[in-house]
């Protein structure tokens, strides 16, 4: 039977959710107008006053907020509460440039942890579980968020943070951890290490994993599930909005429910900024309607995504987002072709190659080159050079048909691609453009 952390919210009627959103949006717009001069200026520039926003239908009138705004307003320019009411900051990992700092009141932290608790319960977590949080603790939101959610659910929480894989595995085994929270690449690494230690999935006590903070494919999910013998659940979030738990996966594993009582999601055309009709693929935009310290209106995530309002078998009524299909800003443009690293990963896994890969983009005599380096595995290796060559050619053909682009494939020695204990470095762009 499906269990919920806050059933009255998670399974509320669509009318109820809409009513919450209308009311909270109007209040939030008034709040930023009164308390954040930066927002007031942006709204005035569009000729808007808070009276123009009467509900979700008027949301599209508001200007967007981008990462550039956050940098411009750094550090305090978007804070809507006196600092005496703020109790915490968190900061982005800086994968896409300068750090962004977000602020929290105690109430903000409380609601954020509720969102994480919803994710843990959706993954089957109860107060009987032992939950190991192997996301980094500190400025990164992963550790603190899941840690708080795990406390709320009542799990016995192991705050290992990331790194020291031997110790991670020791705790999982000695304390019989049942839930693992970390980045998918680290989960894959832990799984790989356990396999090397000769552990089979039935010897690993884990039953579920909550993995997020970076892009991962459906195939990678299958790999992680198989090696650890668990069900792997996706979780989505951004430091700018709170952290993990903006959206989370349920037992259906067909998308992540957005916590719509706290966040309004829109899909826009990243070029024109137009709101796209339901079911369209485009850039995901969020408005945080309950945030006190650091409210964001129409924040452009750069994640390319689709929303689904289809009824979910789990009973939750909140809209679902698909796995981000790439980011409009980690998108590589190679010889004029748009390439998402996640596409390359999908092709690799489909051809039986491991998810340990690195994409090297370079420019030779003004032509872009794409080199996909993949580690040789015992499964792939054979004494037959012709056979290896044949498989390599198939992979090149698979990449060509997926990307519409010729790529070189280089087989490299096992373990020669640097493993990361946080976010994997998938792309090395050597081009000087």
């Amino acid at each position: 039977m499906e269990r919920y952390y806050q059933p009255e919210i998670e399974c509320a009627s669509r009318e109820q959710i809409r009513a919450w959103q209308d009311e909270r949006l109007v209040k939030q717009v008034r709040n930023v107008w009164d308390n954040v001069p930066y927002y007031r200026k942006k709204m005035e520039a569009k000729g808007l006053t808070p009276d123009d926003i009467k509900g979700v239908d008027d949301l599209h009138k508001l200007p967007f907020v981008t990462k550039a705004d956050l940098r411009e307003a750094y550090p305090y320019g978007l804070v809507a509460r006196p600092l005496k009411d703020c109790v915490r900051i968190q900061s982005t990992s800086g994968t896409t440039g300068k750090r962004v700092v977000a602020f929290y009141t105690q109430h903000d932290i409380d609601l954020w942890e509720d969102c994480c608790a919803r994710a843990i319960v959706a993954a089957g977590g109860t107060n009987e579980d032992v939950c190991q949080v192997s996301y980094g603790y500190g400025l990164f939101t992963g550790g603190p968020g899941l840690n708080g959610g795990s406390h709320k659910v009542g799990c016995l929480t192991i705050p290992t943070s990331s790194g020291n894989t031997e110790r991670q595995i020791m705790f999982i085994r000695d304390l019989s951890a049942t839930i693992l929270c970390c980045t998918p690449s680290y989960a894959a690494y832990i799984g790989e290490t356990m396999k090397e230690m000769g552990l089979t999935p039935d010897q690993i006590p884990l039953k579920a994993g909550i993995f997020g903070a970076e892009a991962w494919s459906e195939e990678m999910r299958q790999d992680i599930q198989n090696v650890l013998g668990i069900k792997a659940y996706d979780i989505y979030g951004l430091t700018e909005l709170s952290g993990p738990g903006v959206a989370f996966e349920c037992s259906a594993q067909t998308g992540m429910h957005i916590n719509e009582d706290h966040f309004i999601a829109e899909i826009i055309d990243p070029e024109t900024g137009e709101v796209l009709p339901e079911g369209s693929k485009g850039e995901l935009v969020f408005t945080s309607i309950t945030k006190e310290a650091f409210p964001l209106l129409r924040y452009r995530t750069r994640d390319i995504c689709m929303l689904s309002h289809e009824k979910c078998s789990c009973g939750r009524t909140h809209v679902k987002m698909c796995k981000p299909m790439g980011r409009s800003d980690d998108m590589l443009i190679i010889r004029g072709v748009n390439v998402f690293p996640s596409q390359i990963e999908t092709v690799l896994l489909n051809h039986g190659y491991p998810a340990n890969y690195q994409i090297i983009v370079d420019r030779v005599k003004s032509t872009d080159t794409l080199d996909v380096q993949v580690e040789m595995t015992p499964e792939m290796f054979t004494d037959n050079l012709g056979e290896i060559d044949r498989r390599q050619k198939e992979l090149v053909a698979g990449l060509r048909s997926m990307l519409g682009l010729a790529a070189k494939v280089t087989l490299v020695a096992p373990k020669s691609i640097v493993r990361s204990e946080g976010k994997a470095v998938r792309v090395i762009d050597k081009r000087k453009i």
Binding site: F381, D383, L411, A413, P414, K415
Partner: protein, 144 residues
């Protein structure tokens, strides 16, 4: 009674072979024969060693990807036409040689040694034995 050849993946770059032989040297693995097949980026090192179990264990621990391939080892009289005669037997038996390599020396100094990789090891061995060509087993190979 086939011979176990160890095939190892190595990158085609300076020091890669040195790294491999270093692992074997440190663990006192004795090489009987070696051949190398290469592409521009990687190669397959094929080894016949005195102690297959030890060699594969230390290679695995050192992070090398490898596989075991059964091959046919033959002692050939070191006279003109020696190899030709062996290949004639295989050709007559319609056995395709995927690759082969030779090595010299050893204690039976009047013989040369060849390693043949064929699809059907058993058929090859039978055909060779019928024509009184000396086929080596693992122990003999180790003793060479």
């Amino acid at each position: 009674m086939s011979i176990k050849q160890i095939s190892i993946f190595v990158e085609n770059k300076p020091g890669a072979l040195y790294g491999l032989t270093g692992v074997l040297a440190q663990n006192k693995v004795d090489l009987r024969a070696l051949s190398l097949a290469e592409t521009s980026e990687f190669g397959i090192v094929r080894l016949i060693v005195n102690d297959v179990y030890k060699a594969t264990t230390v290679l695995k621990d050192a992070g090398y990807v490898h596989s075991i391939t059964p091959v046919v080892g033959v002692a050939i009289p070191d006279v003109p036409g020696g190899l030709n005669r062996v290949l004639q037997v295989l050709a007559n038996a319609k056995i395709n040689v995927e690759y082969m390599y030779a090595f010299l020396g050893g204690r039976l100094s009047d013989s040369a040694y060849m390693i043949f990789r064929v699809q059907d090891v058993e058929a090859a061995q039978k055909a060779l034995a019928q024509q009184k060509i000396q086929v080596l087993d693992q122990d003999q190979m180790t003793g060479v």
